[in-house]
Homo-oligomer: 316 residues x 2
Amino acid sequence: MQLDPNHLLMLAAVVDEGGLTSGAHALGKSQPSLSRTLAALEARLGQPLFEKGRRPLVPTELGAALAAQGRIIWQASGEASVQADLYIGGKTGAVRVAGTPVFMDAVIATMIAGFQQAHPNVRIDQSYGYAETLMRDVESGALDLAICPLPPGDLPEPIAFEEILQGRNVIACRMGHPLARKRALRLEDIANYPWIAPPTNSPLYQDLRAILHEIEVDDVKVSFSGGSISAVRTVLEGSDSLTILPYSVIFMMRQQKALTALDIRIKHVPRNLGIISPTDRPVRPAVRRFHRYIASEFKALARSISHAQQNSVWRA
Amino acid sequence: MQLDPNHLLMLAAVVDEGGLTSGAHALGKSQPSLSRTLAALEARLGQPLFEKGRRPLVPTELGAALAAQGRIIWQASGEASVQADLYIGGKTGAVRVAGTPVFMDAVIATMIAGFQQAHPNVRIDQSYGYAETLMRDVESGALDLAICPLPPGDLPEPIAFEEILQGRNVIACRMGHPLARKRALRLEDIANYPWIAPPTNSPLYQDLRAILHEIEVDDVKVSFSGGSISAVRTVLEGSDSLTILPYSVIFMMRQQKALTALDIRIKHVPRNLGIISPTDRPVRPAVRRFHRYIASEFKALARSISHAQQNSVWRA
DNA sequence: ACGCAATATAACTCAATGCTATGCAATTGG
DNA sequence: CCAATTGCATAGCATTGAGTTATATTGCGT
């Protein structure tokens, strides 16, 4: 005997609510609709679902047994509704995001922490990569979002690039570094200190080479290379080494008063940090929400940076 | 977002079967039907349920989440079908049956044991009572069936009485009783032994009085009264007492070779054992099945009795 | 016994679901 | 790499079922 889940659900409603009228109200339907449907179900079964001729409607054995299943269906149905609403509202789901290691660890991680606070049921699957790989993965659908620096105007096929921060690198050192307080630094000053080199496949490494070339320092001592931002920071703090870092990374660490930037102007790199996202497929609500969150956080960060630069408070 | 359980069920089928075509087959529907329904569901949700453009149909996060609920609905639906089939087939449910104590304990209990063997999921709610009470309870719906002796032709309103055994009482005693082997017993023989009297409100008590009057024994020694068949049997076995019992009760105990009947003819009581059932309401399948079982068992018992009487085997 | 409240029935409408036929896209095999 | 195959999407149509309002009927309490 094949039974329609909807019929069982109606039965459960009537049994639980104790009547057709209230059951119909609970389901948002009319009383005759329930009456007829349950009558048809009884006819199909050949057995009454309710004791006949009793007014506080009392279910028969069969009615009670089927109502129990209907109750399960009701619950599952409600749970599905909740799940759907959460998903559509971006409160649930997974976000696969990747970016360049330094930005992910020093900037994005903080933002992810804030996002998780507000949306604990959204799973963030984070990974690392550089522009080329990131774009390929976004295009193929392996990634939902990528955050990395890109030269302006470089927009292949079905990919959007939303710029969120001006690309600007600085030379970083520990807070008490001999060069930290000097103004009008000369090249010779810099050349005397050991350098920490970013991984050779990173954009920062390209930037480092370009900058060194620009300031006509051809030969530097590389004391350490290949480490993550955490390792780099530790080495920086414990030595007089220099390295090149995005200004935003230094800015994010300003509270710890561990690192600072040298007062030497470096040409803006021809790349801006941005969010890479696909345009050829629907964006899942959780991804959209995360995307917006990151964008707004960066907007706030940019404001904060420009404000700080005007006052030069953090360098005091 | 209100979701139709049927849609979730379809989704689950498609996800579990790994495709629209096989899912449709599993549900006994056509593939276009599923395709259109799921497309409509996607439209309602505003989110895809399956990754687009991939042929081994793979569900999205949302699709998987909703399919999980659909699976629950599917299970509950199937369970309901099973429950309904069992109930309709009389394999499940409760039977409320009552009868006169002696018959219930000595005859019906054995039959119930056999029934339970075959239908362990049918619950038998047994109780005791005499004709008047039994009929009232059957009429009121408190009982499904009653088994008791009734005078023929006494059929009030909405009650059926199916005769299943000729009413015939005998004088019972222990197997080795001094009177057990005698033929052509005389009244004086009987009068000298103590009697066990049935409960005064039982039909058997009426029968006892009638019989004693018939054989013109006015004054008997009552050594024990009011006990159940079990107590009566124990007393009978341990003494030379006599009592009156339905022949079928003695017959059912023939294997134990503990009790026997005196070879003295007693007028048939004007009552036949039968099954009382209501005619004004639908009979539940389990009740019908139990009813049939009891009736067929009694038919077999009657055959067995008449066969035994012709051969007088059991008395040898 | 009467009145109230709840259920059953009637008559009708329309959305949803079923089907077959067919187009189109993705995967597989040579 | 192209062709064949398999499987999903779409179209058009028929039918069922579920929804509605209006109304009759039936238990139940006073």
